[in-house]
Amino acid sequence: MAIEEKTLTNLSPERSINTRFTKPDVNRRLEDKKEILVIDQLKKVYPTAKGDYVVLDNLKLSVKQSEFISIIGHSGCGKSTLLTMIAGLNSISGGQISVDNEVVHGAGPDRAVVFQSPSLLPWLSTLDNVMLGVKQVFPHATKKQKLEICKYYLDKVGLGNDFNKKANTLSQGMQQRVGIARAFALKPKVLLLDEPFGMLDSLTRGELQDVLLEVWNKEQITAVMITHDVDESIFLADRVIMMTSGPYAKIGDELVIPFDRPRKRKEILDHPAYYDYRGYLMDFLNH
């Protein structure tokens, strides 16, 4: 909480007028949960033609078991860089990332990723796309058990009748549903989502937010989601992380969203605190 206090005292007077509300400080649901994702002194340097470009510097963040956090920040500040580093798809220049007390080296199915573009293997059916991962993670399960896992998650995301459709014949929204099913089917320790609904129209986006929440409610897998959509970040997350603009980006501020779960969209939107939270986040982004 040290970060929070520091940033709050640093606020300009103008800004504190806009945010005259008491920030909720804890989420009771998570009080006795252990920290599962710990990022310490993280640094990322991209070598460029004009010399080194330091995207992230001294970035600290920890996420509790079954916590859902969302990350917002200006375009180009380094959100995707942070996420791909957690995933192990991008090298670490300094500091370290640990998941469940183990320092991360390279990618692995304990950190499932859902990207903005669905990145399904287009030559496989929806079922085979999910199955490819399930086979890796549950090598000793029987064929029937594996099939059941795949079908369960595909059914959950609303594709119960499309097991054998080729991935490239599906719409963007449907493909992203498969992407979600594939990620959950891995039973990861941490679920990483990089603007998963960014390419969808607002109607489909709303549908998929509901789908995601529904699957998530059952499993309560620790999730880190990048988004540009402030409403989406409040609706889905237990905590919204605000990143400062790069270079040398770090965590600028954070806001706990203490709404109960399972959440209903209507209840959240009607909640008296909703617009305070929204205003607070918008305020951060506009400064």
Binding site: A87, G88, L89, G106, A107, G108, P109, R111, A112, V113, F115, S117, S119, L121, P122, W123, L124, L132, G133, Q136, V137, K166, N168, T169, L186
Partner: protein, 350 residues
Amino acid sequence: MKVLKNVGLIIGSIISFLIIWNMASNALYKRAVSTTITKIEKLQSKEAAEETRKRIESGDPSSQPNSLPSPLLVWKTAGLLLDDAHKVMKKKQDFYKKMEKTNAKLKQAGKESITYTGRPSFLDQTITSLKNIFWGVLLAISIAIPVGILMGLSKRFKTSINWFVQIFKPISPVVWFLLVQMIVNTIMTDPDSDNAFVITFISVGLCAMWATLVNTSVGVSSVDESYLNVSKVLRLGIGKKIFKVVLPASIPLIFTGLRITVSVAWMVLIAVEWLSQSPGLGGFVREEFQNGSSSSNAKIMVAMFVIGIIGVILDKLMASVQGLVSFENKSQSPSPLSIMRNMFISKKAA
């Protein structure tokens, strides 16, 4: 409506082609006749020349000069070749019927059965050529795809082998033939072995494999980053990575290469068959060329059309297989027509 129009256009152009061909063949025929007659007049006498002219005009086939045959003659020759093929086939069948008992006995005694060794027909030659190209392409695939995959996967392997690919890629089929012949004839000294066949399909394979090799290597090295990320997150082993992700992703490019390989192989095959004295369409053309009888030119023309048509069929076959295995969304990849249309529209707007 549009289809009808296109069919009309094609028929029109075929007719014009035949007319031009016919005119050219008439003109060349007249020229050849007059050259022959003046030659005889110079070397022998006026009477002898007059006699030759009469013989030529009477239509005696043995005294016709060799020039570009007319469309009609080529058509008739095609019919004759087909009849001949029927006859040869019948002979062959009769032969085997007669030999049925003898061959059965030989087989029982553990000896080799007697095979038909008569003259092959034009149809037999065509089938031989198809067999040759099949083995050639198979050889090309079995070298080019594995090596291409290795080149695409490992930068180091690519760097160490690339000079070799660059140097051998543009080598002409004639040189490949000579090189392969040197090696094969040294190794295979048994007089019963079919050296011509081995030399032919190896030369064809080596000459035609480069498009597939290069395309496979490019396809493998340019697999979409997001597919590779999937394989990293799932920690797929190297075998699974290649067979489940890398290869399927590069199939469209590999097949583009294969299509080029097949058409190059067919083009080169005829020349190599000629050189290696192997049976096949190339051998047929060489024999007719050396034979030099009055019907030879027409037979060569028939072979030319058969070669061309088989080439088209092979290419269409490859294209349809390519369409089957391609996972790319057909609506997303723009057709050449739509690209042209877009170019036209953007030019107009600008």
